[in-house]
Subunit: 345 residues, 3 copies
Amino acid sequence: MTTLAQIAQVIHGEVVGDGSVEITHGCEIAGGSPGGITFLANSRYADYLATSLASAVILDTETDNQGKSAIRVSNPSKGFADAMAYLYPQPTPPRGIHPTAVLGSAVIIGSEVSIGPYVVIDDGVTIGDGSVIGAHVTIGPETTMGSRVRLHPQVVLYGGGVRLGDEVVIYSGTVIGSDGFGYVTEDDVHYKIPHIGQVIIGNRVEIGANCTIDRGSIGDTIIGEGTKLDNLVHIAHNVTLGRGCLLAGGVGVAGSVVIGDYVTLAAQVGVVDHVTLGDRIVVAGKSAVRQSLEAGQVYAGDPAGLHPRWLRQRAIIKKLPELVRRIRSLERLTNPEKRGNSGGG
Amino acid sequence: MTTLAQIAQVIHGEVVGDGSVEITHGCEIAGGSPGGITFLANSRYADYLATSLASAVILDTETDNQGKSAIRVSNPSKGFADAMAYLYPQPTPPRGIHPTAVLGSAVIIGSEVSIGPYVVIDDGVTIGDGSVIGAHVTIGPETTMGSRVRLHPQVVLYGGGVRLGDEVVIYSGTVIGSDGFGYVTEDDVHYKIPHIGQVIIGNRVEIGANCTIDRGSIGDTIIGEGTKLDNLVHIAHNVTLGRGCLLAGGVGVAGSVVIGDYVTLAAQVGVVDHVTLGDRIVVAGKSAVRQSLEAGQVYAGDPAGLHPRWLRQRAIIKKLPELVRRIRSLERLTNPEKRGNSGGG
Amino acid sequence: MTTLAQIAQVIHGEVVGDGSVEITHGCEIAGGSPGGITFLANSRYADYLATSLASAVILDTETDNQGKSAIRVSNPSKGFADAMAYLYPQPTPPRGIHPTAVLGSAVIIGSEVSIGPYVVIDDGVTIGDGSVIGAHVTIGPETTMGSRVRLHPQVVLYGGGVRLGDEVVIYSGTVIGSDGFGYVTEDDVHYKIPHIGQVIIGNRVEIGANCTIDRGSIGDTIIGEGTKLDNLVHIAHNVTLGRGCLLAGGVGVAGSVVIGDYVTLAAQVGVVDHVTLGDRIVVAGKSAVRQSLEAGQVYAGDPAGLHPRWLRQRAIIKKLPELVRRIRSLERLTNPEKRGNSGGG
């Protein structure tokens, strides 16, 4: 049995009301259910608190708890995430190597590792302590990975130079280290450029499901520490992604792009090859980045430009029919002969 | 041997001409081949009928059969689909559990189930009668599925709460139930929000190849009965999709979006998070839905607006160079000094 | 040990300077490293040559070698690709059938074939000489493939008619031959159209990771000889792609589209169904092709139009705020009463 007070201790918060309340699960603030703990991080949802059936709420140090048992923390979203991690510990699969796993020669496996059914690991692979390799994962020769790496079922790591840091998490269906889309064309025939570069993925990087990250052609493809990728993201050969970036679903980054630290690319953004994006840039969803972008700004549109300018353009485009009417009426005023003419524009 | 009359009986149609004609296969109306049956659903293709080598045609109750043996039905497309299902029965793989399948404990398997080679099924999974689980499928703990479900090779269902209704079909490479892209950021570090929600998929839902459908964070991700998804579609955490929707290839729906019944999203549409789309909406391909949309309308563009307005904007944008010329000539008229100036615009 | 002279012989080039220099690896021109060979194909990078630590450079017949040992060829990019293929021969996996592979009946396997662990091959499949089938590949019944085909780990070929030519390469996670997204709707119910067509893939086609290529409904889906697809590309049912095309990451081609020879679709382009694209077309990234396009031109935008026109439109859209100001000042000039009014536009 878990009490509110226990959770408060785990998330370093202060109990308001009855700390002995039993908490059995997390729930949403709208509706909610007895035994549940929820959170309030956005005043938009404050009205739901009064009628929520949740037994307790995590909120900031100032918001009215409306009589509900609560834990006060500086960041309720973070507090709730920590509470959930405590209430729902991630299942740890059985340690050891499943008898159906196929291992090559000179494979080095750390302690407390779990290798699932039908995993195929090629020669010369190194797997760090505490790593979990899910069912049907395929790992090519000479791959190395740090400690506490988690490869979900059916991930593919190509051979020849994929290097994962510590605590890297890769979701199912993702393919790391296949050849980039590089050809030399002569007389209408496309000759493949051999790819000899690596993919180097920093500590605590997380990569969603069904992504593709290509190895470099000569140089490497690099993903910085703490960067997170959503599902169906494509990173081409020789891209360098900085630390702490967030790339949402369906983003595509073309070859040799350099992206700084703490950059956010919203869903379905495309970035053309060989451009540079500075640190702490945000690009709005579905934008097309067609040239290098300076650090610290918000961009949007196709081609991606500064967000305020894009908003202004959008507003004017919406009013184009009105502009056409204004031009037509000016034409009538300046050329009386046109007054009877209803055509144009 | 199958005759035209037999097919007419199956698809509830009326034979015109010789019902004893042998039908060996389906074919296109353009060209066609002897023994083949084709269909005519669109008058655009009527001219092909005269020269088609097909032995018979399925058409509506009014169109001229141009002397060809035919079956008349109210909906020729549906009639043809039914005829094809009859002529090409889907192969049923052998019943039973392949000896290489790895099953956890407390797995409940209905009658007449087929489980292919190298399938991995974790603890507490329930599989309904008549289901077919293809090669290399991975099913996480506590997953449940109804009757006559079909999982094609290399599908991944995560554990912790994927619930499939009856007659759900999922094509290869699709990943259901991985964590959503949810992080809390503090001091430039992105902390993962634990995902404890489920993915609930209604009866007769079909999901194409290499899609990704994330589990909910607290609440659930829900896909309504009879909805169909094409390939490479991304459904984020906590999305609710209504009944009978059609989502074409490459569509991405961000977190917590609510979509009504019978909505069509054409290819590569993106929908931002936390918006609501009413029933029976159609959104044109590649549109960016950036705000909630009212029911029953057709939308297009970025940001997606009503389709007729988008058409008008497009038309004016095409004529922008002309508008610039008109403004310039107005400027010359009103300010004679500018007459010699060819610049501007 | 490999010398510069040996490489020159392989790539049919002429040594400049010391042919006995030992070459151990390929490297980039910027930086570079001793023992490395690099190339110079673009005068933009010529300045790097002076300071590059590379031991040798491949360049064209005219560019100054700045005193560095060099190989002169007509096409330095092609020369470098050939040099890399020589220096880094692709590892050939062991010949033979891994004991864990599951083979159906009437499977015909050529000579010198490699079939990896946990491969599942259904009845009636034909595999040509020298082909390599990676781990966890699933091949449906009646599939045929030519010689020297390479299927990377976890590729899925559906049954019922996938035909691969010689030297086809398919990267991991790609799904070929699943049903197209075709439904007939009657009373709000979407009935699946049975798919009986094939997927026919020509010689030397290469398909990236996590792509999806659907089989035809009645007719076939066809990919012409020498065409190359990047990652996450979607080709719908009944598409015909010509020879020597290049489709970059995230491209989606809808049903029944016909694309000519040597067409380039840049990243994230979408093509609506039933249109025709002529030979030697280039479409810029993220464009939406909404109608048929004539051969030999460059297109861009949504809807995709001729590239120069798109550039002009873009330029005017950028200046829309200025146009609004010009209209307003014309209105003031022609209607003095408005002079004090700062509103509008």
